[in-house]
Symmetry: C2
């Protein structure tokens, strides 16, 4: 099996590449070839099979055809610019987060011929940003997508096309609406949700971090390791299990900032908690108030997707992750 | 006020142009200029102010800029190819029903400058085709859009962009999810829903018509006159009334084919009903089974949108409409 990861130099993409390289198998089939693509050359994981790395701009007109030239059977599409950048750079956001995805779908459609059909399983990293206020305390699987950001709009529109291309038989798509990834490793990026990770990651290594919102703020989380599990599991789902609606709300953990902090205290003590400063940022607080707080992801749970059930587990996943060198 | 109708030669567009020309007023403001655009030169209604007619291909790169060159304050965007054609002609469907709408939004965004802002009210003709099975017997306002057609996908994706462009302040959009228009006047088009109108319209003038689905088939309807009322009313809604979610499920009448036929019998007698033939079409029946049957359009009702409440009224609206020459 030939597997392509688009966005393979990103936080999740790097982990997914390492995971697949280490396992060597996906949906019960041996992987013989990994193609890893991003705007920069992605790191090459240790792997028994072939690894191809590609550095390209997915918004370039030739990029999609180049990505699928070797007809990978499974495509993980994680490439995106984050919400803060998509809000700040309107046209870039649409070009990268929507048009490039559409170009990929089109390239797949056009690559198929009567004698050589081509309908790869395409697993798309969508986001709970497709949901926006007003919404109920718990969001059900059939709740409408009313994004309050350009990023969420681009993800929701891409999902619609992914579903239509799948229905028409042009590809075999699944969109995973990921919770906020926590604890996000590494340095802060332009995601406004960064503080959810910062207030744990930094104190865990003795560094201060600011909390710009009230402790009562509730949000929806999963660990990087669980997210990688989602991608792996999605490759194994059958069309019968999935049915006509290919966008899935992933499971996660609904927790308040106070619950995050209590888990930090349980793991690292009061001295770690004392490293959290509390300078409010009304702009971030206002934005966070438009984000989902909790879900009832019955469909995905029924298909076997699983996430953490406590913040202690999420912190443990982070510590485990730090013990596993990524590059 | 300068009002632009895109799709002004279509069934609804022609009626909307006549309605606005006859009233001479929209949202309490006098109309001094009507621009009517379509792929063919739209009919020119009797109007005291100026009428400009435009024949253009909205998928042409220059079309959008041409349409908004005179900066109309209110834009009614009804241009589309119908569901059957969008399903048969994949790329044409996306070009006309999605890309052309997006190009219009972009042209509006780019027309605004610091010294001359431009944020027209843009009323977009969307459709209940944004909904697809599985769904409940009655669809609520917050039910997710899971189209089972390329047409519905294109409408839903356009809605997402309309909402984002509105949120960003680039335009002032409203999407009206229209029920199936019944009784649709004139000749059958490529819409698979045509029989809902055919079985009334043709017997009313002594002509036979075929019913390809069972009498128990339930669907969601409004008259052409009510649809024109929706467009007119949408021009008057304030941002406060609308809130952040600019896509609205329009009110309608949920009725079975049997109820349609009883209304035909009440108006035109048993001889008219006898003109309905019953040759089943399993393909059409299968398609219709994926269409919505009923809604609880609380938001739109709360904003004052109104439709018929019986099929007797819908037939009466058709007879009234036939007495009002359109062109």
């Amino acid at each position: 099996m030939h597997v392509l990861i688009i966005g393979a130099a990103g936080m999740l993409g790097t982990r997914l590449a390492n995971h697949l390289a280490a396992r060597g198998i996906l949906n019960g089939t041996a992987i013989h070839h990994l193609t890893l693509a991003d705007t920069v050359v992605p790191p090459t994981p240790a792997f028994q099979g072939a690894v191809t790395t590609l550095a390209l701009d997915i918004s370039h007109p030739d990029a999609a055809a180049q990505l699928i030239a070797a007809r990978p059977e499974v495509i993980f599409h994680l490439a995106a610019i984050v919400s803060g950048q998509a809000e700040a750079e309107f046209t870039t956001g649409y070009a990268i987060n929507f048009d490039a995805s559409r170009a990929l779908f089109e390239a797949i459609r056009l690559a198929a011929t009567a004698t050589t059909p081509y309908t790869p399983r395409l697993i798309f990293a969508s986001s709970i940003a497709v949901f926006g206020t007003p919404f109920p305390a718990q969001i059900a699987d059939d709740f409408h997508t009313t994004p309050r950001s350009s990023y969420g709009t681009q993800k929701a529109a891409t999902e619609l096309l992914l579903n239509d291309y799948t229905r028409r038989g042009f590809l075999d798509g699944i969109a995973l609406r990921l919770p906020t990834i926590c604890i996000r490793p590494g340095l802060p990026n332009r995601a406004a949700s960064g503080f959810f990770s910062n207030i744990l990651r930094e104190p865990l290594v003795g560094q201060p971090a600011n909390l710009p919102v009230p402790d009562t703020t509730r949000h929806w989380f999963t660990s990087p390791a669980s997210a990688i599990g989602f991608f792996d599991h999605a490759a194994s789902l059958t069309a019968t299990m999935l049915g006509p609606q290919r966008s899935l709300n992933m499971p996660g953990l609904s927790a308040t900032v106070a619950e995050q902090i209590e888990a930090l205290r349980a793991t690292a003590g009061t001295k770690a908690v004392a490293l959290i400063t509390r300078t409010p940022d009304p702009a971030i607080a206002a934005l966070v108030n438009t984000w989902p707080q909790d879900f009832t992801p019955a469909r995905a749970m029924g298909m076997g997707f699983r996430s953490e059930t406590s913040f202690d587990q999420i912190i443990a996943a982070h510590i485990e992750d730090k013990l596993t060198p990524i590059t």
